[in-house]
Protein backbone atom coordinates (compact mmCIF):
# COMPACT_ATOMS: atom_id res chain seq x y z
CA UNK A 1 0.00 0.00 0.00
CA UNK A 2 1.39 3.39 -0.87
CA UNK A 3 1.74 6.13 1.68
CA UNK A 4 -1.16 8.19 0.39
CA UNK A 5 -3.60 5.37 0.93
CA UNK A 6 -2.33 4.76 4.44
CA UNK A 7 -2.71 8.46 5.12
CA UNK A 8 -6.26 8.45 3.90
CA UNK A 9 -7.17 5.34 5.86
CA UNK A 10 -5.66 6.80 9.00
CA UNK A 11 -7.59 10.04 8.66
CA UNK A 12 -10.78 8.09 8.15
CA UNK A 13 -10.07 6.08 11.27
CA UNK A 14 -9.76 9.31 13.22
CA UNK A 15 -13.01 10.52 11.73
CA UNK A 16 -14.76 7.34 12.87
CA UNK A 17 -13.34 7.78 16.35
CA UNK A 18 -14.62 11.35 16.47
CA UNK A 19 -18.02 10.33 15.13
CA UNK A 20 -18.24 7.51 17.67
CA UNK A 21 -17.63 10.04 20.43
CA UNK A 22 -20.59 12.07 19.24
CA UNK A 23 -22.80 9.02 18.79
CA UNK A 24 -22.06 7.77 22.30
CA UNK A 25 -22.93 11.03 24.05
CA UNK A 26 -26.14 11.34 22.05
CA UNK A 27 -27.01 7.71 22.78
CA UNK A 28 -26.51 8.30 26.51
CA UNK A 29 -28.73 11.37 26.39
CA UNK A 30 -31.46 9.53 24.48
CA UNK A 31 -31.33 6.49 26.76
CA UNK A 32 -31.43 8.53 29.97
CA UNK A 33 -34.28 10.68 28.66
CA UNK A 34 -36.27 7.69 27.50
CA UNK A 35 -35.87 5.72 30.72
CA UNK A 36 -36.17 8.79 32.93
CA UNK A 37 -39.16 10.50 31.33
CA UNK A 38 -41.25 7.30 31.62
CA UNK A 39 -41.39 8.19 35.32
CA UNK A 40 -43.97 10.86 34.56
CA UNK A 41 -46.47 8.11 33.72
CA UNK A 42 -46.56 7.21 37.42
CA UNK A 43 -45.35 10.39 39.07
CA UNK A 44 -46.47 13.92 38.31
CA UNK A 45 -43.71 16.48 37.59
CA UNK A 46 -45.02 18.63 40.46
CA UNK A 47 -44.54 15.74 42.87
CA UNK A 48 -41.07 14.80 41.57
CA UNK A 49 -39.65 18.32 41.63
CA UNK A 50 -41.54 19.95 44.51
CA UNK A 51 -42.18 17.23 47.07
CA UNK A 52 -39.58 15.96 49.52
CA UNK A 53 -41.55 12.81 50.41
CA UNK A 54 -39.51 9.88 49.04
CA UNK A 55 -41.33 6.74 50.08
CA UNK A 56 -41.29 4.13 47.29
CA UNK A 57 -43.33 1.69 49.42
CA UNK A 58 -46.22 4.13 49.30
CA UNK A 59 -45.59 5.20 45.68
CA UNK A 60 -44.31 8.61 46.71
CA UNK A 61 -41.39 9.77 44.59
CA UNK A 62 -40.59 13.35 45.58
CA UNK A 63 -36.97 14.14 44.73
CA UNK A 64 -36.86 17.70 46.09
CA UNK A 65 -34.61 16.86 49.04
CA UNK A 66 -32.03 15.29 46.68
CA UNK A 67 -32.06 18.28 44.31
CA UNK A 68 -31.79 20.77 47.19
CA UNK A 69 -29.08 18.62 48.79
CA UNK A 70 -27.04 18.54 45.58
CA UNK A 71 -27.29 22.29 45.01
CA UNK A 72 -26.56 23.06 48.65
CA UNK A 73 -23.39 20.97 48.98
CA UNK A 74 -22.15 22.27 45.61
CA UNK A 75 -22.66 25.92 46.56
CA UNK A 76 -21.15 25.52 50.03
CA UNK A 77 -18.18 23.61 48.66
CA UNK A 78 -17.61 26.35 46.06
CA UNK A 79 -17.90 29.08 48.70
CA UNK A 80 -15.16 27.37 50.73
CA UNK A 81 -13.02 26.00 47.92
CA UNK A 82 -13.35 28.92 45.49
CA UNK A 83 -11.59 31.69 47.47
CA UNK A 84 -9.05 29.21 48.82
CA UNK A 85 -8.25 28.02 45.30
CA UNK A 86 -8.00 31.52 43.83
CA UNK A 87 -5.67 32.70 46.61
CA UNK A 88 -3.48 29.62 46.18
CA UNK A 89 -3.24 30.10 42.44
CA UNK A 90 -2.42 33.80 42.88
CA UNK A 91 0.44 32.71 45.11
CA UNK A 92 1.61 30.00 42.74
CA UNK A 93 1.35 32.13 39.61
CA UNK A 94 2.58 35.49 40.85
CA UNK A 95 4.24 35.40 44.26
CA UNK A 96 6.00 32.08 44.71
CA UNK A 97 9.71 31.96 43.84
CA UNK A 98 10.55 29.71 40.89
CA UNK A 99 11.74 26.69 42.88
CA UNK A 100 8.60 26.72 45.02
CA UNK A 101 6.39 26.95 41.96
CA UNK A 102 8.17 23.91 40.57
CA UNK A 103 7.18 21.97 43.68
CA UNK A 104 3.66 23.34 44.07
CA UNK A 105 2.45 22.80 40.51
CA UNK A 106 3.11 19.04 40.45
CA UNK A 107 1.77 18.82 44.00
CA UNK A 108 -1.56 20.26 42.83
CA UNK A 109 -1.64 17.70 40.04
CA UNK A 110 -1.01 14.96 42.58
CA UNK A 111 -4.29 15.96 44.25
CA UNK A 112 -6.10 15.01 41.05
CA UNK A 113 -4.69 11.51 41.26
CA UNK A 114 -6.36 10.77 44.60
CA UNK A 115 -9.38 8.52 43.96
CA UNK A 116 -12.65 9.84 45.37
CA UNK A 117 -13.14 6.76 47.53
CA UNK A 118 -9.97 7.75 49.40
CA UNK A 119 -11.44 11.19 50.10
CA UNK A 120 -14.60 9.47 51.29
CA UNK A 121 -12.70 7.10 53.52
CA UNK A 122 -10.74 9.90 55.15
CA UNK A 123 -13.98 11.83 55.48
CA UNK A 124 -15.66 8.93 57.23
CA UNK A 125 -12.83 8.08 59.60
CA UNK A 126 -11.31 11.53 60.28
CA UNK A 127 -13.62 14.39 59.33
CA UNK A 128 -16.94 12.92 60.55
CA UNK A 129 -15.65 12.26 64.13
CA UNK A 130 -13.88 15.65 64.13
CA UNK A 131 -17.07 17.53 63.15
CA UNK A 132 -19.00 15.56 65.77
CA UNK A 133 -16.59 16.41 68.58
CA UNK A 134 -15.68 19.94 67.56
CA UNK A 135 -19.21 21.20 66.96
CA UNK A 136 -20.88 18.88 69.50
CA UNK A 137 -23.46 17.54 67.06
CA UNK A 138 -24.92 14.05 66.98
CA UNK A 139 -23.63 11.90 64.14
CA UNK A 140 -21.33 14.25 62.28
CA UNK A 141 -22.72 13.15 58.90
CA UNK A 142 -24.30 15.85 56.77
CA UNK A 143 -23.99 18.91 54.55
CA UNK A 144 -21.15 20.58 56.45
CA UNK A 145 -18.86 17.54 56.42
CA UNK A 146 -19.67 16.82 52.77
CA UNK A 147 -18.99 20.41 51.69
CA UNK A 148 -15.68 20.40 53.51
CA UNK A 149 -14.54 17.28 51.65
CA UNK A 150 -15.91 18.48 48.30
CA UNK A 151 -14.13 21.82 48.78
CA UNK A 152 -10.82 19.97 48.99
CA UNK A 153 -11.74 17.74 46.05
CA UNK A 154 -12.46 20.67 43.72
CA UNK A 155 -9.32 22.60 44.73
CA UNK A 156 -6.98 21.02 42.14
CA UNK A 157 -9.43 21.79 39.31
CA UNK A 158 -9.78 25.40 40.43
CA UNK A 159 -6.09 25.93 41.19
CA UNK A 160 -4.64 24.46 38.01
CA UNK A 161 -7.02 26.26 35.65
CA UNK A 162 -6.85 29.63 37.39
CA UNK A 163 -3.06 29.39 37.75
CA UNK A 164 -2.89 29.07 33.96
CA UNK A 165 -5.27 32.01 33.56
CA UNK A 166 -3.22 34.18 35.93
CA UNK A 167 0.00 33.14 34.25
CA UNK A 168 -1.46 34.30 30.95
CA UNK A 169 -1.90 37.90 32.14
CA UNK A 170 0.56 39.98 30.05
CA UNK A 171 3.56 41.16 32.02
CA UNK A 172 3.30 44.65 30.48
CA UNK A 173 -0.01 45.27 32.24
CA UNK A 174 1.49 44.47 35.63
CA UNK A 175 4.63 46.49 34.99
CA UNK A 176 2.59 49.44 33.73
CA UNK A 177 0.51 49.39 36.89
CA UNK A 178 3.55 49.19 39.14
CA UNK A 179 5.26 51.97 37.16
CA UNK A 180 2.23 54.20 37.74
CA UNK A 181 2.84 53.87 41.47
CA UNK A 182 0.30 51.18 42.38
CA UNK A 183 1.33 48.82 45.19
CA UNK A 184 1.69 45.12 44.45
CA UNK A 185 -1.59 44.41 46.22
CA UNK A 186 -3.43 47.08 44.17
CA UNK A 187 -1.95 45.63 41.00
CA UNK A 188 -3.18 42.16 41.91
CA UNK A 189 -6.64 43.31 42.88
CA UNK A 190 -7.32 45.87 40.14
CA UNK A 191 -5.27 44.58 37.21
CA UNK A 192 -4.27 40.91 37.41
CA UNK A 193 -7.47 39.42 38.83
CA UNK A 194 -9.92 41.26 36.54
CA UNK A 195 -7.82 40.41 33.48
CA UNK A 196 -7.76 36.72 34.37
CA UNK A 197 -11.41 36.72 35.46
CA UNK A 198 -12.87 34.68 32.54
CA UNK A 199 -10.31 31.94 33.18
CA UNK A 200 -10.97 31.99 36.93
CA UNK A 201 -14.73 31.88 36.37
CA UNK A 202 -14.22 28.86 34.12
CA UNK A 203 -12.19 27.23 36.88
CA UNK A 204 -14.95 27.84 39.44
CA UNK A 205 -17.71 26.50 37.19
CA UNK A 206 -15.70 23.38 36.31
CA UNK A 207 -15.11 22.92 40.04
CA UNK A 208 -18.87 23.11 40.59
CA UNK A 209 -19.47 20.53 37.86
CA UNK A 210 -17.02 18.23 39.60
CA UNK A 211 -18.69 18.79 42.97
CA UNK A 212 -22.27 18.18 41.84
CA UNK A 213 -21.40 14.91 40.12
CA UNK A 214 -19.24 13.52 42.92
CA UNK A 215 -20.76 10.29 44.16
CA UNK A 216 -18.56 7.99 46.17
CA UNK A 217 -17.07 10.43 48.67
CA UNK A 218 -20.42 12.15 49.17
CA UNK A 219 -22.25 8.87 49.67
CA UNK A 220 -19.92 7.93 52.50
CA UNK A 221 -20.37 11.09 54.58
CA UNK A 222 -23.72 12.74 53.81
CA UNK A 223 -26.03 10.25 55.52
CA UNK A 224 -28.15 9.51 52.42
CA UNK A 225 -31.49 10.14 54.03
CA UNK A 226 -34.36 11.70 52.08
CA UNK A 227 -35.13 14.68 54.29
CA UNK A 228 -34.81 18.41 53.76
CA UNK A 229 -31.85 19.62 55.82
CA UNK A 230 -32.79 21.46 59.02
CA UNK A 231 -29.28 22.80 59.60
CA UNK A 232 -25.88 22.51 57.95
CA UNK A 233 -25.14 19.60 60.28
CA UNK A 234 -28.22 17.50 59.51
CA UNK A 235 -27.85 14.46 57.26
CA UNK A 236 -29.55 14.66 53.87
CA UNK A 237 -28.96 13.18 50.42
CA UNK A 238 -27.86 14.29 46.96
CA UNK A 239 -28.89 13.09 43.49
CA UNK A 240 -25.78 10.95 42.83
CA UNK A 241 -25.51 9.52 46.35
CA UNK A 242 -29.18 8.49 46.39
CA UNK A 243 -28.83 6.86 42.99
CA UNK A 244 -25.80 4.83 44.02
CA UNK A 245 -27.33 3.70 47.32
CA UNK A 246 -30.64 2.57 45.81
CA UNK A 247 -29.96 1.45 42.25
CA UNK A 248 -28.34 -1.87 43.14
CA UNK A 249 -31.51 -3.22 44.72
CA UNK A 250 -34.17 -1.42 42.71
CA UNK A 251 -35.95 -3.41 39.99
CA UNK A 252 -35.27 -2.03 36.52
CA UNK A 253 -38.38 -0.71 34.81
CA UNK A 254 -40.43 -0.06 37.96
CA UNK A 255 -41.60 3.47 38.80
CA UNK A 256 -38.92 3.42 41.48
CA UNK A 257 -36.15 2.43 39.07
CA UNK A 258 -37.36 4.94 36.49
CA UNK A 259 -37.33 7.80 38.94
CA UNK A 260 -33.68 7.02 39.69
CA UNK A 261 -33.05 7.42 35.95
CA UNK A 262 -34.95 10.69 35.98
CA UNK A 263 -32.73 11.87 38.85
CA UNK A 264 -29.68 10.94 36.77
CA UNK A 265 -31.14 12.88 33.83
CA UNK A 266 -31.65 15.96 36.02
CA UNK A 267 -28.03 15.64 37.15
CA UNK A 268 -26.84 15.27 33.56
CA UNK A 269 -28.75 18.36 32.47
CA UNK A 270 -27.35 20.44 35.35
CA UNK A 271 -23.82 19.34 34.42
CA UNK A 272 -24.38 20.08 30.72
CA UNK A 273 -25.68 23.54 31.60
CA UNK A 274 -22.53 24.16 33.66
CA UNK A 275 -20.35 23.11 30.71
CA UNK A 276 -22.34 25.37 28.37
CA UNK A 277 -21.73 28.18 30.86
CA UNK A 278 -17.99 27.48 30.67
CA UNK A 279 -18.13 27.70 26.87
CA UNK A 280 -19.96 31.01 27.08
CA UNK A 281 -17.39 32.40 29.53
CA UNK A 282 -14.40 31.35 27.45
CA UNK A 283 -16.07 32.73 24.30
CA UNK A 284 -16.24 36.05 26.11
CA UNK A 285 -12.55 35.79 26.87
CA UNK A 286 -11.65 35.43 23.20
CA UNK A 287 -13.47 38.66 22.38
CA UNK A 288 -11.45 40.49 25.04
CA UNK A 289 -8.07 39.29 23.88
Amino acid sequence: MDKKKIDKLASQLFLVAALLLGVIIIAILIFMSKQGLVTFKDVSPQEFFFSAVWSPDNNKFGALSFIIGSLLVTLTATLVGGPLGILSSLFIAKLAPGWMRNILKPAVNLYMAIPSVVYGFIGLTVVVPWVRNFFHVAGGFGIFTTSLILAIMILPTIISISTDALGGVPRELEEGSLALGATYWQTMWHIVLPTAMPGIATAIVLGMARAIGETMAVQMVIGNTPQLPKSIFSPTSTLPSEIVVEMGNTPFGSAWGNSLFLMALVLLIISLLLILLVRKISAGKEVRA
Binding site: K8, L9, Q12, L13, L15, V16, L20, W54, S55, P56, D57, L124, T125, V128, P129, R132, A138, G139, G140, F141, Q219, G223, N224, T225, P226, Q227, S234, P235, S237, V244, V245, E246, G248, N249, T250, P251, F252, G253, S254, W256
Partner: protein, 293 residues
Protein backbone atom coordinates in the same frame (compact mmCIF):
# COMPACT_ATOMS: atom_id res chain seq x y z
CA UNK B 1 -17.10 13.02 -7.92
CA UNK B 2 -15.23 9.72 -8.07
CA UNK B 3 -12.95 11.04 -5.39
CA UNK B 4 -15.92 11.65 -3.12
CA UNK B 5 -17.26 8.17 -3.84
CA UNK B 6 -13.92 6.64 -2.95
CA UNK B 7 -13.91 8.60 0.27
CA UNK B 8 -17.37 7.43 1.30
CA UNK B 9 -16.53 3.87 0.37
CA UNK B 10 -13.38 3.98 2.45
CA UNK B 11 -15.29 5.45 5.34
CA UNK B 12 -17.96 2.77 5.10
CA UNK B 13 -15.27 0.10 5.06
CA UNK B 14 -13.53 1.46 8.13
CA UNK B 15 -16.83 1.63 9.97
CA UNK B 16 -17.59 -1.94 8.96
CA UNK B 17 -14.26 -3.09 10.32
CA UNK B 18 -14.91 -1.22 13.55
CA UNK B 19 -18.35 -2.75 13.90
CA UNK B 20 -17.20 -6.29 13.23
CA UNK B 21 -14.56 -5.79 15.93
CA UNK B 22 -17.27 -4.85 18.41
CA UNK B 23 -19.49 -7.71 17.26
CA UNK B 24 -16.54 -10.11 17.51
CA UNK B 25 -16.18 -9.33 21.20
CA UNK B 26 -19.80 -10.29 21.81
CA UNK B 27 -19.81 -13.60 20.00
CA UNK B 28 -16.49 -14.86 21.33
CA UNK B 29 -17.91 -15.11 24.86
CA UNK B 30 -21.07 -16.82 23.61
CA UNK B 31 -19.35 -19.68 21.81
CA UNK B 32 -17.83 -21.82 24.58
CA UNK B 33 -21.14 -21.94 26.43
CA UNK B 34 -22.91 -23.11 23.28
CA UNK B 35 -20.42 -25.90 22.64
CA UNK B 36 -20.81 -27.03 26.25
CA UNK B 37 -24.54 -27.41 25.75
CA UNK B 38 -23.96 -29.40 22.58
CA UNK B 39 -21.82 -32.06 24.29
CA UNK B 40 -24.55 -34.33 25.58
CA UNK B 41 -24.21 -37.29 27.91
CA UNK B 42 -27.38 -39.29 28.58
CA UNK B 43 -29.05 -39.99 31.95
CA UNK B 44 -27.21 -37.26 33.78
CA UNK B 45 -28.46 -34.00 35.18
CA UNK B 46 -27.35 -31.27 32.89
CA UNK B 47 -28.27 -27.82 31.71
CA UNK B 48 -28.05 -24.27 32.81
CA UNK B 49 -29.32 -22.72 36.00
CA UNK B 50 -29.53 -18.96 36.31
CA UNK B 51 -30.35 -17.21 39.55
CA UNK B 52 -30.37 -13.61 40.76
CA UNK B 53 -31.56 -11.65 43.76
CA UNK B 54 -30.68 -11.34 47.43
CA UNK B 55 -27.08 -10.37 48.11
CA UNK B 56 -27.46 -11.71 51.67
CA UNK B 57 -27.99 -15.25 50.36
CA UNK B 58 -25.30 -14.97 47.70
CA UNK B 59 -22.28 -16.23 49.76
CA UNK B 60 -24.20 -19.34 50.87
CA UNK B 61 -25.40 -20.12 47.34
CA UNK B 62 -21.87 -19.68 45.97
CA UNK B 63 -20.73 -22.42 48.36
CA UNK B 64 -23.70 -24.49 47.21
CA UNK B 65 -22.70 -23.94 43.60
CA UNK B 66 -19.10 -25.13 44.22
CA UNK B 67 -20.26 -28.26 46.04
CA UNK B 68 -22.96 -28.98 43.47
CA UNK B 69 -20.38 -28.81 40.65
CA UNK B 70 -18.47 -31.65 42.32
CA UNK B 71 -21.51 -33.91 41.94
CA UNK B 72 -22.84 -32.73 38.59
CA UNK B 73 -20.17 -31.44 36.24
CA UNK B 74 -22.58 -31.07 33.31
CA UNK B 75 -24.51 -28.26 34.93
CA UNK B 76 -23.63 -24.59 34.58
CA UNK B 77 -24.89 -22.35 37.34
CA UNK B 78 -24.91 -18.56 37.19
CA UNK B 79 -25.79 -16.73 40.39
CA UNK B 80 -25.83 -12.96 40.60
CA UNK B 81 -27.00 -10.35 43.10
CA UNK B 82 -29.24 -7.40 42.34
CA UNK B 83 -31.41 -7.49 45.44
CA UNK B 84 -34.46 -9.45 46.53
CA UNK B 85 -36.99 -7.40 44.57
CA UNK B 86 -34.93 -7.72 41.39
CA UNK B 87 -34.71 -11.49 41.91
CA UNK B 88 -38.47 -11.83 42.28
CA UNK B 89 -39.13 -9.68 39.25
CA UNK B 90 -36.65 -11.49 37.03
CA UNK B 91 -37.98 -14.90 38.07
CA UNK B 92 -41.52 -13.72 37.26
CA UNK B 93 -40.50 -12.43 33.84
CA UNK B 94 -38.49 -15.59 33.07
CA UNK B 95 -35.16 -13.74 32.85
CA UNK B 96 -33.73 -16.16 35.44
CA UNK B 97 -34.72 -19.64 36.62
CA UNK B 98 -34.48 -18.82 40.32
CA UNK B 99 -35.17 -15.54 42.08
CA UNK B 100 -33.53 -15.49 45.51
CA UNK B 101 -35.31 -13.33 48.01
CA UNK B 102 -35.10 -12.65 51.72
CA UNK B 103 -38.48 -10.93 51.68
CA UNK B 104 -41.94 -12.30 50.93
CA UNK B 105 -43.38 -12.07 47.44
CA UNK B 106 -44.22 -8.50 46.39
CA UNK B 107 -47.95 -7.76 46.11
CA UNK B 108 -47.90 -7.10 42.36
CA UNK B 109 -46.18 -10.45 41.66
CA UNK B 110 -48.63 -12.64 43.61
CA UNK B 111 -50.57 -13.71 40.50
CA UNK B 112 -47.51 -14.54 38.36
CA UNK B 113 -47.39 -18.24 39.26
CA UNK B 114 -44.21 -18.05 41.32
CA UNK B 115 -43.49 -21.00 43.62
CA UNK B 116 -41.32 -20.33 46.65
CA UNK B 117 -39.03 -22.90 48.30
CA UNK B 118 -37.70 -22.07 51.76
CA UNK B 119 -33.90 -21.99 51.88
CA UNK B 120 -32.69 -20.77 55.28
CA UNK B 121 -33.64 -18.54 58.18
CA UNK B 122 -31.92 -15.15 58.12
CA UNK B 123 -31.58 -13.66 61.61
CA UNK B 124 -31.10 -9.96 62.34
CA UNK B 125 -29.60 -8.39 65.44
CA UNK B 126 -30.00 -4.84 66.69
CA UNK B 127 -26.63 -3.32 67.52
CA UNK B 128 -25.61 -0.13 69.32
CA UNK B 129 -22.42 1.82 69.86
CA UNK B 130 -20.50 0.38 72.82
CA UNK B 131 -21.06 3.57 74.85
CA UNK B 132 -24.80 2.86 75.09
CA UNK B 133 -25.62 1.49 78.56
CA UNK B 134 -28.96 -0.10 77.62
CA UNK B 135 -28.85 -3.91 77.17
CA UNK B 136 -32.34 -4.79 76.05
CA UNK B 137 -35.37 -3.05 74.60
CA UNK B 138 -39.00 -4.06 74.27
CA UNK B 139 -40.77 -4.23 70.90
CA UNK B 140 -42.65 -1.02 71.75
CA UNK B 141 -39.37 0.75 72.56
CA UNK B 142 -37.78 -0.41 69.27
CA UNK B 143 -40.83 0.87 67.39
CA UNK B 144 -40.73 4.24 69.16
CA UNK B 145 -37.02 4.66 68.45
CA UNK B 146 -37.19 3.60 64.78
CA UNK B 147 -40.25 5.76 64.07
CA UNK B 148 -38.52 8.76 65.65
CA UNK B 149 -40.84 9.11 68.66
CA UNK B 150 -38.06 8.48 71.21
CA UNK B 151 -34.92 10.48 70.43
CA UNK B 152 -32.90 10.16 73.64
CA UNK B 153 -31.48 7.11 75.39
CA UNK B 154 -32.63 8.43 78.78
CA UNK B 155 -36.24 7.73 77.76
CA UNK B 156 -35.52 4.00 77.58
CA UNK B 157 -33.41 3.75 80.74
CA UNK B 158 -30.03 4.85 79.40
CA UNK B 159 -27.95 7.98 79.87
CA UNK B 160 -28.80 11.42 78.49
CA UNK B 161 -27.56 11.01 74.93
CA UNK B 162 -29.15 11.59 71.53
CA UNK B 163 -30.11 8.47 69.59
CA UNK B 164 -28.67 8.32 66.08
CA UNK B 165 -30.30 5.74 63.81
CA UNK B 166 -27.91 4.24 61.26
CA UNK B 167 -29.42 1.70 58.90
CA UNK B 168 -30.13 0.60 55.33
CA UNK B 169 -31.70 2.21 52.25
CA UNK B 170 -35.36 1.85 51.32
CA UNK B 171 -34.49 -0.69 48.65
CA UNK B 172 -32.84 -3.02 51.19
CA UNK B 173 -34.32 -6.42 52.02
CA UNK B 174 -32.98 -6.15 55.59
CA UNK B 175 -34.91 -2.94 56.08
CA UNK B 176 -38.05 -4.55 54.67
CA UNK B 177 -37.68 -7.42 57.15
CA UNK B 178 -37.33 -5.12 60.17
CA UNK B 179 -40.33 -3.15 58.90
CA UNK B 180 -42.38 -6.34 58.67
CA UNK B 181 -41.22 -8.11 61.87
CA UNK B 182 -40.74 -5.19 64.26
CA UNK B 183 -42.51 -2.08 62.96
CA UNK B 184 -45.50 -4.06 61.60
CA UNK B 185 -46.76 -1.40 59.23
CA UNK B 186 -45.43 1.71 60.95
CA UNK B 187 -42.93 3.88 59.04
CA UNK B 188 -39.23 4.38 59.76
CA UNK B 189 -38.32 8.00 60.48
CA UNK B 190 -36.29 9.64 57.70
CA UNK B 191 -34.17 11.37 60.35
CA UNK B 192 -31.48 8.70 60.07
CA UNK B 193 -28.15 7.98 58.46
CA UNK B 194 -28.21 5.49 55.60
CA UNK B 195 -25.30 3.22 54.74
CA UNK B 196 -25.47 0.83 51.84
CA UNK B 197 -24.24 -2.46 53.32
CA UNK B 198 -24.16 -4.48 56.54
CA UNK B 199 -20.45 -3.78 56.94
CA UNK B 200 -20.84 -0.03 56.46
CA UNK B 201 -23.71 0.10 58.96
CA UNK B 202 -21.64 -1.77 61.53
CA UNK B 203 -18.56 0.44 61.18
CA UNK B 204 -20.64 3.65 61.27
CA UNK B 205 -22.37 2.46 64.46
CA UNK B 206 -19.04 1.44 65.97
CA UNK B 207 -17.70 4.99 65.57
CA UNK B 208 -20.84 7.03 66.31
CA UNK B 209 -21.74 7.47 70.00
CA UNK B 210 -25.42 6.82 70.73
CA UNK B 211 -25.97 5.02 67.42
CA UNK B 212 -28.42 2.16 66.89
CA UNK B 213 -29.09 -0.01 63.85
CA UNK B 214 -29.48 -3.59 62.71
CA UNK B 215 -27.35 -6.05 60.75
CA UNK B 216 -27.48 -9.69 59.67
CA UNK B 217 -26.45 -11.73 62.72
CA UNK B 218 -23.26 -12.85 60.97
CA UNK B 219 -21.99 -9.26 61.01
CA UNK B 220 -22.09 -8.77 64.79
CA UNK B 221 -18.56 -8.47 66.16
CA UNK B 222 -16.67 -6.93 69.06
CA UNK B 223 -16.70 -3.38 67.66
CA UNK B 224 -20.41 -3.02 68.45
CA UNK B 225 -22.76 -4.09 71.23
CA UNK B 226 -25.64 -6.44 70.37
CA UNK B 227 -28.99 -5.54 71.96
CA UNK B 228 -31.44 -8.09 73.33
CA UNK B 229 -34.96 -8.21 71.95
CA UNK B 230 -37.52 -8.32 74.77
CA UNK B 231 -34.73 -9.61 77.03
CA UNK B 232 -33.74 -12.42 74.65
CA UNK B 233 -30.27 -12.44 73.08
CA UNK B 234 -29.99 -13.89 69.58
CA UNK B 235 -29.01 -17.56 69.43
CA UNK B 236 -30.21 -20.23 67.03
CA UNK B 237 -31.79 -22.03 70.01
CA UNK B 238 -33.77 -18.92 70.92
CA UNK B 239 -35.14 -18.81 67.37
CA UNK B 240 -35.99 -22.54 67.42
CA UNK B 241 -37.80 -22.08 70.74
CA UNK B 242 -39.83 -19.28 69.17
CA UNK B 243 -38.47 -16.67 71.58
CA UNK B 244 -36.55 -14.52 69.07
CA UNK B 245 -38.80 -13.22 66.28
CA UNK B 246 -36.40 -10.96 64.36
CA UNK B 247 -35.59 -13.27 61.47
CA UNK B 248 -36.92 -13.87 58.01
CA UNK B 249 -36.93 -16.88 55.73
CA UNK B 250 -34.91 -16.77 52.53
CA UNK B 251 -36.81 -18.16 49.55
CA UNK B 252 -35.92 -19.38 46.10
CA UNK B 253 -38.72 -18.43 43.72
CA UNK B 254 -39.28 -20.34 40.50
CA UNK B 255 -41.88 -19.83 37.80
CA UNK B 256 -44.05 -22.90 38.37
CA UNK B 257 -42.67 -26.04 40.03
CA UNK B 258 -38.90 -26.37 39.50
CA UNK B 259 -37.68 -29.09 37.10
CA UNK B 260 -34.45 -30.61 35.79
CA UNK B 261 -31.19 -29.02 36.83
CA UNK B 262 -33.01 -26.19 38.60
CA UNK B 263 -34.89 -28.70 40.74
CA UNK B 264 -31.69 -30.64 41.46
CA UNK B 265 -29.87 -27.51 42.59
CA UNK B 266 -32.71 -26.37 44.85
CA UNK B 267 -33.01 -29.84 46.35
CA UNK B 268 -29.27 -29.90 46.95
CA UNK B 269 -29.02 -26.60 48.83
CA UNK B 270 -32.09 -27.42 50.92
CA UNK B 271 -30.85 -30.95 51.73
CA UNK B 272 -30.04 -31.74 55.36
CA UNK B 273 -26.48 -32.69 54.39
CA UNK B 274 -25.64 -29.35 52.81
CA UNK B 275 -27.55 -27.33 55.41
CA UNK B 276 -25.87 -29.02 58.41
CA UNK B 277 -22.44 -28.45 56.94
CA UNK B 278 -22.66 -24.85 55.69
CA UNK B 279 -25.65 -22.87 56.88
CA UNK B 280 -24.67 -22.10 60.48
CA UNK B 281 -21.11 -21.36 59.41
CA UNK B 282 -22.45 -18.61 57.14
CA UNK B 283 -24.53 -17.06 59.91
CA UNK B 284 -27.92 -18.39 58.84
CA UNK B 285 -30.41 -20.75 60.52
CA UNK B 286 -30.88 -24.25 59.00
CA UNK B 287 -34.45 -25.08 57.95
CA UNK B 288 -34.61 -27.90 60.51
CA UNK B 289 -34.00 -25.44 63.35
CA UNK B 290 -36.67 -22.94 62.40
CA UNK B 291 -39.72 -22.99 64.68
CA UNK B 292 -42.56 -25.11 63.30
CA UNK B 293 -45.26 -23.00 61.70
Amino acid sequence: MTNLMKKTLGLALTMLVGMSLVAGCGSSTGKPAASKDAAKAPAKIEGKVTASGSTALLPLLKVGQEEFYKLHDKVTINISGGGSFTGQKQAASGAVNIGNSDVDLAADLKDKGLVGTDLVGIPFVFIVNSDVSVDSLTTAQYVDILTGKIKNWKDVGGKDEKITIIHRAKSSGSRATIAAKVLKGKEFTDDAIIQDSNGAVRSAIATTPGAIGYVDAAYVDKTVKPLKFEGVAYTIDAVTAGKYPVYTVGHMFTKGQPAGAVKAFIEYVTSKDFQDKNVEKQGFIPLTKLPKK
